[in-house]
């Protein structure tokens, strides 16, 4: 029994070390980011309460799916703590925006712990926090929202130029509406909107040979500059203990 436990712990240590190495190796296509950010699974986001140093923390992990809001509402309704830890590769942008608003209405603190990554629509959940922390080694990764991942748009693009031209004005219109929602959200959450114009909307949604980068990992200095993190207590913030290990 003891040998089985020792083997299990050794295995966990190995996978953790591998994840740590993967998170520190640079991605040649996105040089500001590691090769494999740890944004968790592509399964719909789950909410799990964990005790960390004797206080409850809500772990939000997975894809921001179309039906996330009722699950988040239910999780917040029963949650007795005040802090949410986030790990997600993004998903539905509008749902992310609404979930961020819900988190704000619940007066929650948001955190990206060491070793975790929050990408794309997850950014908006994070920005919903009244107090926002990114621990050393946590990643806040932004990009330009995309339309060509939409199945309808992809189908029309595949049908050729004439069909694609019809979709252009729809894309232009939707992009303007989504950008206005982004602007509105950042104002309400107390962030600088220059995060949009100087960083997010400068990224390419589709890379090419001259500039393959489509993701941008903010440094902690940048995150403070745009008020993405606002945990400005005296002295350095004590990093959160590492999050519990979970299977992907």
């Amino acid at each position: 029994m003891r040998r089985k436990l020792a083997s299990l712990l050794a295995l966990l240590a190995l996978t953790s070390a591998q994840a740590s190495i993967a998170q520190t190796q640079r991605d040649p296509l996105n040089p500001t980011c590691p090769r494999t950010p740890n944004w968790g699974t592509n399964q719909p986001m789950t909410f799990t309460v964990h005790q960390v140093n004797g206080r409850p923390v809500l772990l939000a992990e997975g894809r921001i799916d179309d039906n996330l809001l009722p699950r988040l509402q239910e999780a917040l309704r029963t949650f007795q703590g005040d802090e949410i830890w986030l790990r997600s590769g993004g998903g539905n942008a509008r749902i992310g925006n609404q979930a961020g608003t819900l988190i704000r209405q619940s007066n929650m603190t948001t955190r990206i712990p060491q070793g975790w990554a929050c990408f794309s629509a997850c950014n908006f959940l994070f920005m919903g926090g009244v107090v926002r922390h990114i621990d050393e080694g946590g990643l806040f990764i932004v990009h330009m929202f995309t339309f060509t991942s939409d199945p309808t748009v992809r189908r029309q693009v595949a049908q050729g130029a004439d069909s694609s031209i019809g979709v252009i004005s729809d894309v232009e219109q939707n992009s303007a509406l989504l950008a206005s929602e982004d602007n509105d959200f950042l104002i309400r959450m107390g962030l600088y909107r220059t995060l949009l114009t100087e960083v997010m909307y400068q990224q390419r949604a589709v890379g090419d040979s001259s500039n393959p980068s489509t993701m941008r990992c903010l440094t902690l200095d940048e995150a403070r500059h745009y008020n993405v993190v606002n945990d400005r207590y005296e002295g350095p913030t004590e990093p959160a203990p590492p999050p519990p290990r979970r299977r992907h």
Partner: protein
Amino acid sequence: MRSRRAAFLALLALISSEPASAQPDPNSPICPPNPNWSTYPRMRFTVQAVPGSYPVLLAEGQIDDEMLPRLEEALRTFRGNEIWLRSSGGNAGVANRAGFLIHRNTLSTRIPAGWACSSACAWMFMGGVVRSVDPGGLLIVQVLSDNPDPAALRRQAAPGGDGMARTIENVAQESARRATEENNFLMAMGISRQLLTDIIYRQTGPGEAGRRCLTVEEMHRYNVVNDVYGGPRQAKQAP
């Protein structure tokens, strides 16, 4: 004095070189045919003396790429405090900068009865510190687009759709940046940004199909006009 001024304005109306638009319905978002927005290919600035009052600056014609230096020069020598606008639009970026310039000069903007200010011109108008649209004046909004024309899009479309996908993403990116600038502009001018999401970005189609005449109620609701002092005023007649 008042009758002299009225007679003067009536005379100006008579000698106006272009026909006034049909009296629009102030409660209808549908624009009347042939709005009177001037056919000058480059915006002209003319100081118009008004007996018994300050002169007004008439800004008429297309907002062309080289308009800003002419506006700066016109403002440098202008001794009045109000600009009257008549234009079908033009370069959106130039109009945005012109709006800021008008605002920095603390000028009022006005669309007099019978005149129309459309598309990019609306952004110049919104630069006014005090903004008025007289009964019978038209403020027409539209999505400002930098879309390449269909022929150019076909040229960009590589076999397999990669070129077109990139073009679509570029359009989305440009649109997002422009929307952010437009959000900025409206905040700077004290206009509700809901004008964008409720109305302007809901318009579809190029040209006439995408034009939307703001109703009087909408202009007040979004603070597009803000001359709400002392009850109704007497309308000014366009020259």
